[in-house]
């Protein structure tokens, strides 16, 4: 049966470099948990330590009820899917899936039945005699998944499984993995730098940065209530605007937007505004206290969605995203009414250089 994964104060040092620092989280049994972060944030190292491919410098690991910090890779019974598939190139699809069963001494008939079953599951029955280099990237990753699942692992660990694939294949495979997970219910830990992937697949997100956890939460919490400016900028896009906090409101330009967080009056702050939280109306009048005027500088139409770059009265740029049909009477150079529905404020000193990274305008 599927087990939970728990790590406590996990730390990994490579020489002087601390790749992972005091990481603690639990992945619930039967769920998909995503470790999300930019490259170099230590998420893959966490995954490799859980698999037993790396030894932690400090900290503890549980798979199910048993502590596994010091057990060998082979004893942990994890299924591991690598970014570059890591299929055995000298073996056929059938032999690849068989590998984990062959080294585990099962009866021949049982093994065969299991391989059949898995090839059926990943819809690769007709390809059983092909070698890995005769398959497409998507097919290879499905073989890798079948191979990992064949010995009935306690947990499934996926290290950027779709990272090497085309955008289209990646989407298909993501949906397919989602269905597969519903069917099998195996506890899965997914490492990714792709926020869409994490938001779509995972029940819980662990956002990492520079070896540490920034925030743990449901996709909804991470997106709507980011705990740090980094999370606000990394998950989903955001405008970063300079301003001040006055009376529980964030002021920038002519805007005055209520904020949820508790920041002292007068402090120098940055407002994070999601592009879809910016409303644009033709004609520079009307609206409430959050409304201000801006000039349209650029319009990019991405099908049903349009992205509008606006210049606020105080010279700051802000990007709005809205359905294209709401824009029909707005043109370049027009002065429009801009209404910011929601903003998150962070202390300017906490934001620092991250602002550049987070900003959608560039």
């Amino acid at each position: 049966m599927s087990e939970l994964i728990r790590v406590e104060n996990l730390t990994k040092r490579f020489g002087d470099f601390e790749a992972v620092r005091d990481v603690t989280f639990t992945a619930e049994a039967g769920s998909i948990t995503a470790l999300l972060g930019p490259s170099g944030s230590g998420k893959s190292t966490v995954l490799r330590m859980i698999a037993g491919l790396e030894t932690p410098t400090r900290g503890r690991i549980w798979l199910g009820q048993e502590e596994q910090t010091h057990t060998s890779v082979q004893e942990r019974r994890v299924g591991f899917v690598f970014q570059h598939y890591a299929l055995f190139r000298h073996l056929t699809v059938w032999q690849n899936v068989m590998f984990g069963l062959a080294v585990r001494r099962m009866s021949k008939r049982e093994r065969r039945a299991r391989v059949e079953e898995l090839l059926e599951l990943v819809q690769l029955g007709p390809f059983r005699d092909r070698y890995p280099d005769q398959l497409s990237g998507g097919q290879r990753q499905r073989v890798a998944l079948a191979r990992a699942l064949a010995p009935r692992p306690n947990v499934l660990l996926l290290d950027e499984p779709f990272g090497a694939l085309d955008a289209r294949v990646r989407q298909d495979l993501r949906r397919w993995l989602d269905n597969l997970h519903r069917e099998l219910g195996v506890t899965s830990l997914l490492v990714t730098h792709d926020q869409d992937e994490a938001l779509e697949l995972a029940n819980r997100l662990v956002v990492m940065r520079e070896g540490r956890i920034e925030q743990v939460g449901t996709p909804n919490e991470i997106y709507n209530e980011p705990a740090t400016p980094f999370v606000a900028g990394f998950v989903g896009s955001a405008n970063v605007l300079h301003g001040h906090v006055i009376d529980g409101h964030m002021e920038f330009g002519e805007h005055r937007v209520p904020i949820a967080n508790d920041l002292a009056d007068g402090i120098d702050a940055r407002a994070f505004v999601r592009p879809h939280d910016v409303r644009v109306r033709a004609g520079g009048s009307g609206g409430g206290s959050g409304t201000a005027r801006a000039t349209v500088e650029r319009i990019v139409t991405l099908g049903w969605l349009s992205r509008v770059v606006l210049r606020l009265g105080d010279g700051q740029a802000i990007v709005a995203e809205l359905p294209s049909d709401e824009l029909c009477d707005v043109g370049l150079g027009d002065v429009v009414a801009v209404d910011v529905r929601r903003a998150l404020a962070f202390r300017a000193s906490d934001v620092g250089r991250l602002a550049e990274f987070a900003s959608v305008e560039s």
Binding site: L53, Q74, L87, F88, H90, F99, V103, D133, Q134, A148
Partner: protein, 290 residues
């Protein structure tokens, strides 16, 4: 920048054709030079050996191969080559694996050291062996006390041949190991394979081409070796005389006919090994293309 330059120059069509013709002539000359080089340095001596060996007529073959010292010389060469290949294969894989997969202080130094046998003259290797195991050498008394003869006997001949042949396997296996990376090995371990199972089922099949290539080269080297073996063997006829040493002695004793026959046989074996290498190489590229 170079493109712009070419376009400007290319405006003059006659000049362009002249340049092309010149390039074609130059190319032809280079090819001719290569062919000449191969003919003079490789084919002519080989043809000479064939001609010299067979000049007295075919019966010289029978005469040579029934001589007991010739049979013994070939047997000894085969024994030395077999032991050498077995040892360099096992040792080569281990050293290559350590050099590629392990990170430790002095790795770069060890890596450079592997090429030492290529740089050293085989005679020097032989002399070093005599210094270590000969009378008055550091290890002489240890083995002499146990009645084991090293110098002027098979052990020293095998030892120097191994020393000289060992870099081939290492240098052939190393880049292959480097290229395949650790992911497949990691995958095997997560699937429950032990270290030994991982090596036998994953690593070994992946490096087998490089390994075969290394084996062929080591074998060729071991069969053809003379300098180091000459120094340590003591040239005892019928006891420490390899095929190459037999040729050496036969020439001294003016038995040119049998010397050429043995030389021709060794050349034939080398050609066979070369063919085997080519075959492995072809197979390798075909697999890469697939």
């Amino acid at each position: 920048m170079s493109a712009g330059f070419a376009i400007r120059r290319g405006g003059d069509r006659d000049a362009m054709f002249r340049r092309r013709r010149r390039a074609a002539v130059l190319r032809g000359m280079l090819v001719a030079l290569c062919v000449l080089y191969l003919a003079v340095l490789l084919l002519a001596p080989l043809a000479g050996v064939v001609w010299q060996a067979l000049r007295p007529g075919w019966r010289v073959l029978g005469d040579t191969f029934t001589r007991s010292d010739v049979v013994h010389a070939f047997t000894l060469t085969a024994v030395i080559a077999l032991i050498t290949v077995a040892v360099t294969t096992a040792f080569g894989v281990v050293v290559a694996w350590v050099l590629v997969r392990q990170r430790f202080r002095g790795r770069a130094f060890l890596n450079a050291l592997v090429d030492l046998p290529f740089a050293l003259s085989p005679v020097t290797v032989g002399l070093a062996c005599v210094l270590l195991f000969g009378r008055g050498g550091w290890f002489h008394d240890f083995f002499a006390a146990r009645g084991i003869q090293i110098i002027f006997a098979l052990p020293s001949m095998v030892l120097v041949t191994i020393f000289i042949s060992v870099p081939f396997t290492i240098r052939e296996v190393q880049p292959v190991l480097e290229e395949i990376g650790v992911e497949e090995e990691d995958a095997a371990r997560t699937l429950g394979a032990s270290v030994m199972q991982t090596f036998l089922r994953v690593t070994l099949p992946n490096i087998r081409r490089g390994l075969l290539y290394g084996i062929a080269l080591s074998a060729a080297r071991a069969i053809g070796e003379i300098g180091a073996v000459l120094v340590v063997s003591g040239l005892i006829q019928g006891r420490t005389e390899t095929a190459t040493l037999y040729i050496y002695r036969a020439m001294e004793e003016r038995q040119t006919a049998s010397a050429y026959v043995v030389a021709l046989t060794l050349a034939g074996v080398s050609v066979l090994i070369l063919a085997a290498i080519e075959w492995v190489k072809r197979k390798r590229t075909r697999e890469d293309e697939a």
